[in-house]
């Protein structure tokens, strides 16, 4: 039996197909203007890779942007919040995990789950760019590096040039100011990553931490932000081999399987 999960984010859409409690197929694509189109393209792409079609899915769950429309269009049988999906997905990969820090392109969430991966508590920021992937995006461009480079770059910093502002706009101005004065890119990158972690920690404090902790979403791939968060929390986060951007779709697929099992 195959189960599908579709997660449409702000920048990318993901799909995961489960079979026999493992990831059978997956796909990630840049989003299209219409979330339904993104959903269709990504799930069909993931299925096509294994010679499957939508009809082969026993059940599918949608999450993220436009999840309700995706369900209404028949691409999914149910929709779930991305909060539950990220929590469930992370827990399946790491059954000991109880706190999930998900930082996406335009939002950040901290999710607490129980021993069954069920949602216990959460907090979300989707209003302010500071503390989301968008912040790193803007800062990377200001430094003239890619968003993939800004993390590793800070490991060669001699010092951390702290940003004095919590606002992305002022931070950008501040970075320009430092660059004009000849500040090192690595030092600035270190400060940017620390600021990013600081904003996320504000969310973490609201929910509290229960070990073990892990990260999901695109920013989980930034080792510097990860390290700053670990320092601030005083612990090491668990790592895993699955693409961190697939966790939401994975969680959706897991929930699809559970819903189908409950029905039958």
């Amino acid at each position: 039996m195959f189960y599908g999960g579709i997660d449409v984010g702000s920048l990318t859409a993901q799909a995961v197909v489960l079979k026999d409690n493992s990831i059978y197929s997956f796909q990630s694509i840049p989003v299209k203007p219409n979330p339904v189109d993104s959903a269709a393209a990504v799930i069909e792409g993931a299925l096509r890779d294994k010679g499957l079609t939508l009809k082969d899915l026993s059940f599918c769950v949608s999450t993220g942007y436009g999840r309700e429309q995706i369900q209404k269009e028949g691409l999914a049988g149910e929709n779930m919040s991305e909060i539950s999906c990220h929590g469930k997905g992370a827990w399946w990969i790491l059954p000991r995990v109880r706190t999930v820090i998900d930082i996406g392109g335009q939002d950040a969430k901290v999710i607490r789950v129980d021993q069954d991966g069920e949602l216990v508590n959460f907090v979300m920021n989707d209003k302010c760019a500071a503390g989301t992937g968008r912040f790193l995006d803007v800062m990377s461009k200001t430094l003239g590096v890619t968003v993939e480079e800004i993390g590793p770059l800070s490991f060669s910093a001699r010092q951390v040039i702290e940003m004095s502002s919590r606002c992305s706009i002022f931070c950008e101005t501040e970075v320009h100011h430092y660059l004009q004065r000849g500040a090192g890119l690595a030092d600035l990158a270190a400060g940017i990553n620390r600021t990013m972690a600081g904003r996320v920690m504000a969310l973490v404090r609201r929910v509290g931490i229960e070990k073990e902790v892990t990260m999901t979403g695109g920013v989980a791939k930034n080792p510097a932000v990860r390290r700053e968060l670990e320092k601030a929390m005083g612990l090491k986060m668990l790592t895993y081999n699955v693409d961190s951007q697939l966790v939401g779709a994975l969680g959706a697929a897991l929930i699809a399987r559970r819903l189908e099992e409950v029905k039958s």
């Binding site: 919590r166 606002c167 101005t173 501040e174 404090r205 609201r206 931490i209 070990k211 929390m233 005083g234």
Partner: protein, 475 residues
């Protein structure tokens, strides 16, 4: 309730303990420091404290800033010692005049916003960690950092705890009152409410007076002592001396150029909020006046340039003393101070207990923020006061700092700016930021805006005629 940071990491100590510890070091300083000694001190202090001391202990104002610092240290020492001595500490917001508490033997006042400001100017990280603690509880980020920084520290369970909280802004500031109430509920501390009705008439005053007397009874119960007439009178005499000095400084501000350093606004308001009616408060104000007189009498006084006389019509910025006060001075902008110093005190009638208390109640009624934002019309009284001060001091530019949490002033700023311009011709610059947290609006942005305002707005409107008042010249 402990370790509310939710991270599993142990907290060190709270704001009060850290500030008290740091300021205790300053206790050991001599009465004056030479430039080299100051440089040496700055080198050993942490960066944020060093920055503040650079401004506070500048040679040109040291004569006043030393007693000012010692006054604050005395307030902190008394608070720390209170519990050991079996006294009770009463935490109150800035607009609550503390002299009534000084009139009790077994009560010690401490002011939330003074503690916050001391933390912001002296602690590494400027007390932001305590703000983060409060946010960690789920409190919204549109609260006022002025009290939330200190209260956040108290809520951590790692700080000193007062024995009672006075909610003194009921009727003049919702966020201040509600935050204090929240802390009293969470920490299970007795809350004493002092409400002012939005009514400027004698009827309103009578109601406020009733509330004030009720508060006295609650304080007596808390202290386990009755308000003593002799002690009350002794404090009242010193209150009157503070009032006298306040008005002398007021007169000095009429002189052109203004001989009163801008940072003295901070000294005056901190004195009003904490040690009004105390010898330490008197000494601070006396020395502020002396410094102003010395400035007035100095050889180069007459030739000093004064590009603008700028009045901060509500709050100003307190997180970078160098880049705020010193910067304005360097740029020849006379900082006429902010509204926190608008105590408008009147001498107390010492005839009897009733007349003294009546005077103290009037002071509370007329104290900053209570008087303006607690009035029937928030804008009307505020405008009247601004217009009065503009005329008194020859102000030619007004600035509204735009502290984001001041919902009441923000709600009538537009009316106020229009009316001030209409009635006085003085333009008002509107800024946006957080007066106690630097990470909201960088000081460089504030400086830029003030600079533009002074050069392109105030100065283009022409300079006001220089004048000297006969009264001030006799001081």
């Amino acid at each position: 309730m402990n370790n509310l940071n939710g991270t599993g990491k142990a907290q060190t100590t709270g704001l009060f303990s850290r500030v008290h510890g740091l300021f205790s070091v300053l206790k050991k300083l001599p009465d004056s420091l030479s430039a080299e000694e100051l440089e040496g001190l700055i080198k050993v202090l942490p960066a944020d404290s060093a920055n503040s001391m650079k401004s506070l202990l500048k040679p040109s104002i040291q004569q006043a800033s030393m007693p000012f610092l010692r006054m604050l240290i005395a307030a902190l020492d008394e608070t720390k010692a209170a519990k050991e001595q079996g006294y009770k500490v009463v935490l109150a917001p800035f607009n609550f005049p503390p002299e009534i508490i000084h009139a009790f033997d077994k009560l010690v006042p401490i002011t939330t916003e003074v503690l916050t400001t001391l933390g912001v100017i002296s602690l590494e990280g400027q007390g932001e960690r305590y703000w983060e603690l409060a946010m960690g509880l789920g409190l919204p980020d549109h609260l006022c950092s002025a009290n939330t920084i200190d209260l956040g520290s108290m809520l951590s369970g790692m700080d000193f705890e007062p024995d009672a909280i006075i909610s003194g802004c009921i009727g003049s500031c919702d966020v201040n009152s509600k935050t204090h109430e929240f802390v009293s509920l969470l920490m299970d501390l007795p809350q004493i409410a002092l409400e002012k009705p939005p009514d400027n008439t004698e009827r309103g005053f009578s109601f406020f007076k009733k509330n004030y007397y009720k508060m006295i009874r609650q304080l007596e119960e808390l202290a386990g002592e009755e308000l003593n007439d002799e002690k009350l009178r002794a404090v009242a005499i010193k209150v009157n001396r503070c009032t006298e000095l306040y008005h002398d400084l007021w007169e000095m501000k009429k002189l052109v150029p203004c001989p009163v350093p801008g940072i003295f606004s901070l000294f005056v308001c901190a004195t009003r909020f904490s040690m009004w009616g105390r010898d330490e408060g008197i000494k601070t104000l006396e020395q502020c006046l002396e410094v102003a007189k010395l400035n007035f009498k100095s050889d180069d006084y007459g030739s000093r340039e004064e590009k603008a006389r700028v009045l901060w019509i509500y709050l100003s910025y307190y997180y970078d003393l160098v880049k705020f006060y010193d910067w304005m001075e360097e740029h020849k902008i006379s900082n006429m101070g902010d509204a926190l110093q608008w105590a408008f005190p009147e001498p107390l009638d010492l005839t009897s207990r009733e007349t003294i208390l009546d005077g103290m109640i009037r002071s509370a009624w007329n104290n900053v923020m209570t008087r303006q934002m607690g009035a029937a019309s928030m804008s009307q009284r505020w405008i009247e006061d601004i217009v009065y001060i503009i005329r008194e001091w020859g102000v030619n530019g007004a600035i509204y700092c735009g502290h984001h949490s001041c919902k009441q002033t923000w709600s009538v700023f537009s009316i106020t700016r229009n009316e001030v311009l209409k009635r006085t011709g003085v333009p008002t610059l509107g800024l946006q930021g957080d007066s106690w947290i630097r990470s909201m609006t960088p000081m460089s942005v504030i400086q830029e805006e003030v600079d533009q305002f002074v050069n392109n707005v105030i100065n283009k409107r022409g300079r006001r005629k220089r004048r000297r008042t006969a009264g001030a010249a006799e001081l």
